[in-house]
């Protein structure tokens, strides 16, 4: 069993345990499971000229390890801002963001960068692959930035898992949207992040490709125990998650905590 599979089995076991105990947040050893991500009264206020515009207005959310959580809400309700704050791309104005036990709100920009490098994988609506690089180098880039050496075994497993082994020499402009998103997902998970934050990953895809990508994310969650938080406008896509958070006007109005 390779390390990927071992991690996966452990995470899946934990997740199943969690479900079997009716979300009691206790592992089978009786230890209390801690959220991989937790926000406490998080505010994010943007300043436009002399006007303060609150994008988040006191968000409290818990994400448990191995969960697949969907976030829904109308445009402008703060979904993307919340994802950025959760992943340390943006700093919360007030409140606490705990990622794997680290409080992002008290960290410097450099420290958040290091944390993001090791614990967070992002997937974007527009794929955001580097156009000058082929798929292989787009994926390897994440490992390169992590600077702990290229892991060919992990790379191969991920590439095969995502079914892009035959497209590695192709540049983004030579691939379909679905293929590009699979490469983007591979880039996000190749460094074994604790959590994958996906911002409308199917927003630019047709129905068939969307379904393939969603199945892939579900499979990563199920088979590898990958914690995933996904923003979507589509209720059918949201249904792939274990739990759906509903946001409105910068607040989570439903599904914020594990029951």
């Amino acid at each position: 069993m390779n390390p990927l599979q071992m991690d996966a089995s452990h995470a899946v076991e934990s997740r199943l345990e969690s479900k079997h105990t009716n979300h009691s947040r206790l592992s089978h050893g009786g230890q209390r499971l801690e959220p991989i991500l937790k926000t406490e009264n998080v505010w994010k206020i943007y300043r436009t000229g002399k006007v303060d515009v609150p994008a988040l207005r006191g968000v409290d959310v818990e994400i448990m390890p191995g969960e697949f959580v969907s976030i829904m809400g109308p445009s402008g309700c703060g979904k993307s801002t919340m994802l950025h704050v959760m992943g340390g791309l943006a700093q919360a104005t007030r409140g606490k963001v705990l990622l794997d036990g680290n409080d992002l709100t008290t960290m410097t920009d450099a420290a958040r960068t290091v944390l993001r490098r090791h614990k967070v994988g992002f997937v974007f609506q527009r794929f955001n692959l580097l156009p000058t690089l082929d798929a292989y180098h787009n994926i390897a880039l994440a490992q390169h930035i992590r600077a702990d050496g290229f892991d060919p075994h992990r790379f191969e497993v991920v590439a095969n898992l995502l079914g892009i082994g035959g497209r590695l020499k192709h540049k983004p402009s030579e691939m379909s949207g679905g293929e590009q998103q699979r490469v983007a997902i591979a880039r996000a998970i190749v460094s074994e992040p604790k959590i994958v934050l996906a911002d409308e990953p199917t927003g630019n895809l047709d129905t068939r490709s969307s379904e393939a990508v969603l199945n892939l994310l579900a499979s990563l969650n199920k088979d590898l125990g990958q914690t995933i938080v996904m923003i979507t406008h589509n209720p059918e896509a949201a249904a792939y998650g274990h739990r759906v958070l509903h946001m409105r006007d910068g607040l989570v109005v439903d599904g914020a905590t594990v029951h």
């Binding site: 791309l89 943006a90 993001r116 156009p131």
Partner: protein, 362 residues
Amino acid sequence: MISQNVLHRPLRTFITVLAVAVEVTLVIIVVGLTSGLMFESAKRTEGVGADIMVQPPSASIYMQFSGAPMPIAIAGKLSQLQYVQAVAPVLIQFNSVNGLEIVYGIDPETFRAVSGGFVFHDGHDLQNPNDILVDDVYAKSKKVKLGQTLHVLEHDFHVAGVVEHGKGARLFVLMPTLQEMSGAHDKASVFYIKNDRSDRTAAVVDEVRELLPRYEIRPLKDFISLMTSSTLPGLNAFINVMIGIAVAIGFLVIFLSMYTTIIERTREIGVLKSLGASKGYIVRIVMSETVLLCLAGVAGGIGLTYLMRAIFVRIFPTLTILITPGWIGRALVIAVVGGLLGASYPAWLASRKDPVEALSYE
């Protein structure tokens, strides 16, 4: 990723590399031209074959800038010094018609005694007052033929011979003629002294110093080392200004190129930041691309320099452009440092981009 990024916009890359190449070429050619002219001039002065050169007090080593204030009778006194084998007085005039050249007014006999005589490609030595000798380089570049009339210093000369280059000047006339033309009767610009043995130069220098205190007395073996840009007033400043212009070209082009690159790649920078790339990582990428562009520019610049030299020398055969490894190295450093300075602000700008804003950049 660095090379891929550089190749992504081939036209921009080409223009940037070309600008750096022009910068490098400008530096090497300007320095090579000035030092080449001085080096060539010094080599010709050395080629006279003398051991010592005597000039009037405070005279420049650039003999064309000195007048003719020394009585020619000094030659007689110098000839009587111990160890002195021959003394050749030379009157020097600066000719600016049809190019910049110096004309030596010589006494054929004493000049031959010091220099060992001309090697004639064609014709014969100076015999008549209006005779002129031209060296082979001058003859080739100006298409001068034996027997033709050559208008020099507002005077018509008869080309009596074509000689091997390297004996002080490219044009030689009889001293009395030049004295008459320039109103410098019984005057000379320089005395070339030939010793009976070359290892007695120091002793002869001491003797001449005693005879002619305050005169400029220079052993010819040190002459080339004296012919540097620092000895010619204003030349260093000129070279520095030209280098400054070259650096400014490189700096501005790299700045503009990298700045537009950063603006164009804003979203990519956001992606890199989302992957956890530090500010240092992004600065390194920008700087690495800059170094790559500069090195390509330097390589192109070196090639362009040799091409320019070949063209210059073909058009102006009397020109000497000295390309030295030292100045190629300096041009490399100047180009890379200038490029890095030009890229520093764009790199800083890139490293400080807000990742969220960068990711939403259209």
